[in-house]
Symmetry: D3
Subunit: 220 residues, 6 copies
C-alpha cells in the first residue's frame, strides 16, 4: 500500500489469499486513472484462504473491522461478496462510507437492468447470496444464483471461464437480464462472459469502488 | 453445567454477563420438569457484557461456534436475539439442531397471532431486528419494534418493567397482536407485561428451548 | 384412543380414510417413546375419504372444530396439509395449542434450510399450498410445489415412491434445499426420498406433533 | 327471489339475519336499472346471525356452496367480507363467475387509489381481513384496518355512523387514500362517510355485483 | 365513432395502426349486444405504429390524455398493455372511470386463477410488464412472461398463432394457471390458444371494457 | 452550459422554472471541485413550471429524451423526483449511464440506513413516490412519505424550512432512520434539517450526480 493519508480508499480482501488480493488490485486498476482518490488494496492475515462457508464469513468480520480501525481511509470496500463486517463497520464508523461488494453489485444491477442473477462459487455461497438479497429487501428483482463449484482461490484460473459462462447463460434463461459475478477476483473474465451471454456483467469489486468514489464525493 | 453427555441441550449466552446467564438459567427452569432432555446453560468468557451493536454480534459469532465444538450436546440454543453464529453453526453441524432465540420467538409468534411486535433494548437493536425479520422473509407479519433504551445487563432490574410495558402497549397500538421480548433475560417480567398489555408475550429463550426439544424429538 | 385426560395430544385426521389414520398413527409412533405427553390419533366419520379439492377442506373444517370440543386434550394437530379449521380453532380455544401440519412443516423448513419445496398430491393441492404459503407470509422462502397426481388414500402405496422421488428431485432443481411431503400418511417414504434427492425431507405430521410438544411444554 | 332462470345473478348472504339480507337487497338496487342481468338476493337459514369469528366463516362455507348448487344462476356473489366458500365454489363451478365481496372491494380499490384501508366490525374481523389481503398477495397496497366494535346485524343502525366515520378518518391518517366498508349491509352510510373522510368509500356488495356483471358479459 | 354523448365508453388505441384499431373494434364487439353503454373505439394519429419500447409508451401518454379531454365519455379504456397515461388520467379526471388493459387483465386474472403468465410481444415488453406488475404490487401472483418476438401491427397475422401457443404452454410449465395476452389485437386467437394450452386465456381489451362497464354501473 | 464535449455529465431539470434550475446548479456545485467530469445543468423550455401531478411527469418524459438526444454527454441525471423518461432513456441510450434523482436518492438511502422516509411536496407527489418505490421493488425499506403542501418553484423559499423539518421529524417517528428530500432544489436546507431531525438527510440531485460519476468511472 502506497498511501497512508485519509485521502485514499481502502479495499480490504478479508481472506488471506495473496492471489486473490493481487487479482483485486488488478481489477480496480482501471479506476485509478480518473479517481479523485487513491485506491489501496490489502489482504488480511490469519484468515481463511477463501470464504467458503458462513462461519468463514463470521470468522473474518471482526478482523475486517479491526483493519479499518488500524488503517485510516476516506472510505472502505470489503471485497468479499458476503459483505462480512459491513453493517457493523457502518454503525461504528458513522459517517465514513463503507461498501460491501455484494450489496454494491446488487444496487448497481438495479439501475442497469430489471432482474439480476448471480454467478456463485458454490451451493453454500448461494445460500449466503439469498440471505443478502432478502436482508437488502430486493427479492423482487432477483432472478437467482447458479453455482460453478469452485473455490475463491481458483477464480483466477482460465479453466473457470467455461463454467462461469455456462452459469451466466443459465441465469439469462432463468430470467436475469443482468449478471453479477458473485466473487471478488473474477474481473479478468468480465468482458468475455459479457460477450458470451449477451447481457451486461457486473464485476462487484470494481462496482463497489466506483460507487464508493461517489459516496466520498458526496460527503466532501 | 451438570451434564456432559450428548443427551442434553446446551443454551449458550454469548455475552459475558453472569447476571444474564443466571437469568437465562432461571428462565428455562420451568421447562426442565417435563423436558425429555437435560437443559444446561453456559456463558462465554472474553466476550462483551452485552450485545449492544452489530459489531458485538459479529465479535461473538466465532466464539459461539467454538463453544459448540467444545461442548457436545443434542442441540443448541444461542441466547442472544441477534442469533449470532446460528446460520454458520447450522451449516457446520449438519443435522444437529441449532436455534437462535430471535428466530425462534418470531416463528412461535407466527402461530400465536397474526402480527408480532418486538420490545427492543435500543435503537441499534431495532436495526438488527429489522434485518433478522427480512432475512427470515417474514416482513408481512411484523408490526415493528419499540426500544426501551436499556443495556442487556440491566434487563433483570425491576426498574425496567414500566418501560417494557409501555413499549408493549405501544406495539399493540401499532397493530401487533403478539409481543416478543427482544432480549434474553427479561423472562421474570413476562407474565406481568402480558397482563398489562392484554396480549400474549413471548419470552424468546424459553420459546427457543421448547422448540429445540421438539426439533430433537423429531430427529430421534 | 387410549387416553382421555387432558395430558394427551390429539392428532385429528379430518378425512374418513382408516388407512390414512393408521398411517398417521404409525408415523407419529417414534415420537411416543420420549414425548412427555401421550399422543392419540383419531379420524373423523362422515367426511370425504381424502381432501382433494378446496370444498373438501371447507367441508371438514367445522367437523374438526367439533371434534376438538368433544375430545379434551392438551393440544391438537390437524393432520391435513390444508390446515382446515386451524385458524378458527385457535381463535376459539384461546390458549390451547393447535397446529396444522401444513404450517408446521413449513415453519420447520424455515430453520432447516433456505427454500422449501412441497411434494403435492395434485394440481388442486398446489393451489391450496400456494394460498397457505401466502397467508403465512413466507413466499420469499418458497421454491414451489410439484404434483404426483395421486389421491390421499393412495399415499401408502409403494407404487408412489417413484413419483414422489421424481417430484422431490424436480423441486431441488427448482431451487429447493428442503423438501416437504405435502400430505399426511407419506411418512414411510421419508427416509428413502431423503436419500434419493439428497436433501432433508420433512414429514408434516411428525413435524407438527414435535412442535406441538414444544408448544405444550412452553405453556406448562 | 323473483328469477329462476340462469339469466340472473345471485347474491348470497351467508348469515341468517333477515335485516342484513334486506339491507343488501337495498344496497344493490341502484345497479338493477341498467344491469343486463337480473339481480336476486337470498339469505341462508340455519347459519349464524353474523360472521363474528373465523369458525363462523368456516361454518357457512359448505352452506354457501350448497346454495349455489341448489340455485342456478349466471354468476354468484358471496356477501360476507371473509369470502367464505369462494375459492371452493370457483374450483367446483369451473367457468361460472363467483365473487366474494371482500376480494371484489379490494380489487376495485386497486384502481381507485393507491392504498386502501378497511373499516372492520371487530378485532377478529381485522385478523380475517389481514389473512385475506395476504392470500390475495396485495399487502403492498394495504394501509390497515380499524375496528368499530359492532356486530353484523347492527350495521343498519344509525348509531354506527359516528364510529364508522371515525374509523374511516383514522385510516386516512394511517395512509389510506381509499376506504373500504368491511361488511355487507353498511351501504346506506357510504355517501355520508365519503363526505366526512374526504376520500372514496367502496361498498363491497355493490362493488362485487358491478364487477360480476362485467365478468358475466365477458363470458357471453 | 358513432356516439358523441357521455353515455358511451371510449376505447383509445394509443398507436396509429389502423389494423390494430380495427382488431380492437372486432375484439370488443361481442360485448356490445348486452352492454348498457355504447362502446366506441378510436386510434390516435401521429403516434408510433406500435408501442415497441418504453419511450414509445412515454411518447403517447400525453396524447392519450389529450384524446380523453377532447372526446367526452362515460369511461375510458387505454388499449395498450403498458397502460400509458392511465395514472395521470385517473388523477386528472377524478371520478370518471379509466382502465388500462394491462392492469385490467391482471386484476381479472387474480379472480380466475392463482398465478398468471403473460404472452409478450418482445423482450422490451417483458421489462414493461414486470414494472407494471411491481407497481401494482401483485408480484406474488405473477409466474412470468414469455416473448414471441413480434410487433404490435403483426398481431393479427395468422402466422403468430404457433408462437403464441408455444409461449402460452411455456408459461403453464413455468407455473402459470391463467394466461394473459400481453397486447391488444390478439383477440381472434384467444379461444384457440385456450384450447391448445388447456388454461383460461384472458384477452386484455375485452377484459378492460367488461370491467369498465362494471365501474360505470357502480357510479350510476 | 459551458461544456459541449462528451466528457461532461448533464443534469436535466425537466421543468421550466429557471429558479429551480439555478438551485440545482448551486446544489451540485460542491461536487465540481473533485469530479473527474464536468457537470452541466440545463432546464427545459415549454414544460410546466413544476411537476405537480402525474400528467406533468408524463408530459415532460418525451422532452427529457429529446434533450438527451440533442445534447451529447458522458451520462445524464434527470432532476425530477418522479424520474420521468428514465427507463425509456436507459433503454434507448444503451450503455450511456442515466440516473433519475428519485431512484438514486432511494438507492443511496439503502446503504446509509435501514428505512428511508421521503419529504414530499404534495399528496399527489406521495402517490408517485409510492409507485416509484414499488416499481423499484424496495417497499421493505420504505417508512413512508409526508407532504409539506408546496410547489416545486417554492422550494427555494426560506419559509419552507419549518414545514420540511416538521415532515422530517414526523418521518423519524414513523420509523425512518434516513430522510430523503423528495424534490430537486431543496439542497440549501439539507444540513439544517439534518441537524433538526438528527438523522442523515439525502439531497437527491447531489446523490444522483455523485452516483453517476461512479457509473461513468466504471464504464471507462
Amino acid at each position: 500500500m502506497s498511501h497512508v493519508t485519509a485521502e485514499r480508499l481502502l479495499v480490504i480482501n478479508p481472506n488471506s489469499s495473496a492471489v486473490v488480493t493481487r487479482a483485486i488490485d488488478v481489477a480496480v486498476d482501471p479506476l485509478r486513472a480518473r479517481s479523485p482518490f487513491a485506491i489501496d488494496v490489502m489482504g488480511l492475515q490469519g484468515t481463511p484462504a477463501g470464504i467458503a462457508v458462513q462461519s468463514d464469513a463470521d470468522r473474518v468480520a471482526p478482523d475486517v473491522l479491526h483493519a479499518m480501525r488500524a488503517h485510516p481511509a476516506r472510505g472502505y470496500v470489503v471485497a468479499c461478496f458476503s459483505d462480512p463486517g459491513v453493517p457493523g463497520a457502518r454503525e461504528e464508523l458513522g459517517g465514513t462510507p463503507v461498501r460491501g461488494i455484494g450489496e454494491s453489485a446488487i444496487l448497481h444491477a438495479l439501475i442497469v437492468g430489471d432482474r439480476f442473477g448471480i454467478v456463485a462459487l458454490s451451493r453454500s455461497a448461494i445460500l449466503r447470496q439469498r440471505r443478502l438479497v432478502r436482508v437488502m429487501g430486493v427479492d423482487a428483482r432477483y432472478a437467482g444464483s447458479r453455482a460453478i463449484d469452485a473455490r475463491a482461490e481458483e477464480t483466477t484460473s482460465a479453466l473457470l471461464l467455461d463454467r462461469m459462462s455456462e452459469a451466466a447463460c443459465g441465469l439469462v434463461s432463468d430470467g436475469a437480464d443482468t449478471i453479477i459475478m458473485g466473487c471478488a477476483g473474477m474481473a479478468h473474465f468480465r468482458e468475455e462472459i459479457e460477450g458470451l451471454c449477451g447481457r451486461p456483467v457486473i464485476e462487484p469489486t470494481r462496482a463497489a469502488v466506483a460507487a464508493l468514489i461517489g459516496d466520498c464525493l458526496l460527503r466532501n
